[in-house]
């Protein structure tokens, strides 16, 4: 798979000079369609190029995500960036070094010497690479320092004559704006214009303070017609899904054995809840649109905008700038479309639209609610005769792109721009709700089926780890229960069913590191979770300790991972820590309630996330062989963390079906 995709990258962009430029003596500029979304990709990619060219990292700059230059590499998916972009860049660098020989990169580049195919110039024998760990830590430190002091976020970009915009809060995704007293709002201090197009409305003002006051006033004056209704559970909303898609059906059903063990894990709708809100700047001039955006896929955004605004692609440029943390398909594209609408209506000035907190929580796509049930049929020999996974989920794919004008505000316009139907990412990309639905454990028969609520009247799309979070938890719950049923130790039961030595190793190491034990004193218990992300990226095993009390807490967590060669080892550790904390936050605290068809959260009080006082002490060990190819490491922890939590809670309370978040109330309801 990886090889095939790499070939595709190199087929579309075959030349060394497609990837590497040598703009001025001593500087190398790396072109990559990948964007930095707070996961440290730029460091890893710079390290790869520095290594391949045998240069210090400080000489390498990354120019990423600008549709005016650089390869279109689709999305920055956390798990694929280093694998694919990295491999392509490493090949380009190695070829450049081979072409240069003893010569000077810059002189050769100046004479067009790198306009040659990478494929024809790869060295036969591997070139020695410099040790770059020190470079890496210096570069990492610098980037933290710059982020703290300098900002450089899209929110900080100031262009001359910038106009500040805010959108009115739409109380419900299907609400219609009946009346907005334009004159009264336009008379407020600093207001330059009130923009209204159907049910999409925004205020433009000269200053940010003024636009915030004006939009708050506008919110209170706006008259909306909105559907009403009561609380809807995720199960209610997913219930109407009739069509079953069988994703995997292999092996033979066991002839002997009929003891069935199940593990079930459900999660509600979640929201990305980035600390900074979505923001975009758009400028319309001379029939051209410039958009500054923190979207994950600048090229896809450009294509979606062209479609939605009926423009030619070459009338639009999208320039990536960093936003606050991005954890999947958030509202970055949506806010960019909204800024573009405002810019078109007011040519000349750059329009800066920043969402407010309530917009950030509800206007972008939600993460899909889902429920996953794993059933193990035990053979008479105590082994796994059959594995069944049943998944019910909202859809994971609603990104904009060519032919897909998928933007929150589209349907609100006078001339509505309707989104393409929701879908699921294809199996080749790891699937969506069925991601990690196939366990790594050996079984006689295997069946994975999903029912996806494609027509659900809520916008849902990908969030970190997609279906892997719930599927791994369900599978591991069933594994734990099956071990207990057959009176086997949960560690050896897993080990016996794993053929891949790397899988067995991460489990063994995390058990050693943590002193994992199955006994519980009734107040605390340990849980174990394992998965290889997408069954082809990094391996990760997690043990954590859960304490009962007024609310559940997780004081300690251990993770062991094998990601092959870790290009940026400390960055991988940071990704695992961050992934673990976010997954615990989802599992212990987070839920977007749906009331009357609308996501009902508006602030940090109604959508709390894990705080400093609630995070575990975390130990992470990387055990990959540096000589084996790098494996995606960005999203490997979420599934195993959910699984470790679920199995610990099972041990503590005897639950085999767990619904998160495990708030005190929700837990009490499940125990009874």
């Amino acid at each position: 798979m990886t090889g095939m995709k790499l070939s595709k990258s190199l087929e579309n962009y075959p030349l060394i000079s497609d990837w590497l430029k040598f703009p001025e003596p001593g500087r190398v500029s790396v072109r990559s369609g990948r964007v930095e979304i707070g996961q440290g990709i730029s460091l890893a990619l710079r390290r790869i190029v520095a290594g391949a060219l045998n240069l210090p990292m400080a000489q390498i700059d990354l120019v990423a995500g600008d549709t005016r230059s650089g390869p279109d590499e689709n999305y920055t998916a956390g798990s694929m960036s280093v694998e694919l972009s990295g491999l392509a860049l490493r090949a380009a660098g190695q070829a450049a070094r081979a072409v240069a020989g003893q010569g000077d990169f810059w002189a050769i580049a100046a004479s067009g010497g790198f306009d040659v195919p990478i494929r024809d110039n790869l060295p036969d024998t591997p070139q020695a690479e410099p040790d770059l760990l020190l470079d890496l830590s210096v570069a990492a430190s610098e980037s933290i320092r710059d982020r703290i002091l300098g900002g450089g976020y899209i929110h900080d970009l100031r262009l001359p004559d910038i106009v500040h915009a805010r959108v009115l809060t739409q109380p419900h995704p299907q609400a219609r704006l009946l009346d907005l007293p334009l004159a009264e709002i336009e008379a407020m201090p600093g207001v330059l214009a009130v923009h209204r197009d159907g049910s999409f409305a925004a205020i433009l003002a000269a200053s940010e303070a003024e636009v915030m006051s004006a939009v708050a006033r506008a919110d209170s004056l706006a008259d909306w017609d909105q559907p009403d209704g009561g609380v809807q559970t995720a199960d209610d909303l997913l219930a109407g899904t009739a069509q079953t898609e069988v994703m995997t059906d292999t092996g033979v059903d066991a002839v002997t054995g009929n003891r069935r063990i199940t593990g079930e894990f459900a999660r509600p709708f979640l929201t990305h809840a980035s600390i900074g809100t979505c923001c975009a700047i758009a400028q319309w001039h001379d029939d051209r649109l410039n958009v500054w955006s923190h979207a994950q896929g600048p090229f896809q955004l450009k294509a979606g905008l062209a479609h939605a605004l009926k423009l030619a692609q070459d009338q639009i440029d999208v320039i990536h700038m960093p936003g606050a943390g991005c954890y999947g398909h958030n509202g970055a594209d949506d806010v960019a479309f909204e800024a573009a609408l405002l810019a078109r209506a007011r040519p000349g000035a750059p329009i800066r639209l920043a969402w407010r907190r309530a917009d950030e929580l509800t206007r972008g796509p939600l993460a899909p609610a889902m429920r996953s049930r794993a059933t193990i049929t035990l053979g008479d020999d105590g082994g796994i005769a059959a594995f069944d996974l049943d998944i019910v989920s909202a859809p994971h794919q609603r990104r904009p792109g060519p032919g897909k004008p998928n933007f929150a505000a589209g349907p609100l316009l006078d001339k509505p721009v309707l989104p393409a139907p929701a879908s699921e990412p294809p199996p080749a990309n790891g699937g969506g709700s069925d991601r990690n639905g196939v366990p790594m454990y050996r079984s006689g028969a295997l069946r994975v089926a999903r029912r996806v609520a494609y027509d659900i009247p809520l916008r849902t799309s990908a969030m970190r780890a997609l279906g892997a979070y719930a599927n791994v938890a369900a599978i591991e719950l069933a594994m734990d229960a099956a071990a207990e049923e057959t009176r086997q130790d949960p560690v050896s039961f897993r080990q016996a069913a794993l053929d891949d030595p790397r899988a067995r190793d991460v489990i063994r190491r995390v058990v050693d590191l943590s002193g994992f034990a199955t006994e519980t004193d009734g107040d605390s218990a340990m849980g174990l979770g394992f998965a290889r992300y997408k069954n082809k990226a990094g391996y990760c095993a997690v043990v954590l300790e859960v304490m009962a009390g007024e609310s559940l807490s997780v004081p300690r967590l251990w993770a062991v991972a094998d990601v092959g060669e870790a290009i940026d080892p400390d960055g991988v550790v940071a990704q695992i820590e961050g992934g673990a904390i976010q997954a615990l936050s989802w599992s212990l605290k987070e839920e977007v309630p749906i009331i009357g068809g609308a996501p009902a959260v508006s602030d940090w009080e109604s959508y709390p996330i894990l705080r400093f006082s609630e995070i575990p002490e975390i130990k992470v060990a990387l055990i990959g062989d540096p000589a084996s190819p790098p494996l995606g490491a960005g999203e490997i922890a979420q599934g195993p963390v959910a699984a470790a939590l679920a199995t610990a809670v099972r041990r503590l309370f005897g639950l085999s079906s767990i619904s998160v978040p495990l708030t005190p109330d929700a837990l009490a309801r499940q125990i009874i």
Binding site: I144, R145, G151, G325, G578, I609, I615
Partner: protein, 153 residues
């Protein structure tokens, strides 16, 4: 909002600014004074992305009116370029997207100014009102402890 003249000390320097007195300090800092270290996260005082020190106390600048700092001492992250906290955050690689960091650094500064030798619980208590979504917490806690040690020499 009526305009007025507001004077205060900003990172040790006197400033006088003419601006609507009811303007939240966050916008004055970011858009009039060009200091983008304090960041907007919620505008409601509940995330801490905009935190600054006023007379040594932590305040969320999104919910503090400009007139309220008249005659007072305001510190923002821009004043901490040479402070061991910045070096410690950098050395611990404490942060992913980094958006939350300036506010958390200010909380830590407020703590260390009064408590040179904080234990883990004191560090946690000082930072707890500040949110981080990327899960950089363990590194941030380590960075603050490291800075405290560096400051003690």
């Amino acid at each position: 909002m009526s305009d007025g003249r507001v004077s205060f000390t900003l990172n040790g320097e006197p400033v006088e600014i003419e601006a609507p007195e009811a303007e939240p300090l966050l916008w004055t800092l970011r858009n009039r004074l060009g200091l983008t270290g304090a960041r907007f996260g919620c505008g409601e005082g509940s995330c801490g992305a905009c935190a600054v020190l006023v007379d040594g106390q932590i305040e969320t600048s999104c919910s503090l009116k400009l007139w309220a700092v008249e005659g007072r001492r305001v510190e923002t992250v821009e004043g901490l370029g040479d402070h061991p906290l910045i070096a410690a955050f950098a050395a611990e690689r404490a942060g992913q997207c980094g958006y939350c960091l300036s506010g958390l650094v200010m909380r830590a500064k407020g703590l260390l100014d009064n408590t040179p030798d904080p234990d883990r619980a004191e560090i946690i208590a000082a930072l707890d009102e500040g949110l981080c979504r990327c899960g950089a917490h363990p590194r941030i806690l380590r960075a603050v402890a490291r800075a405290a040690e560096d400051l003690r020499g």
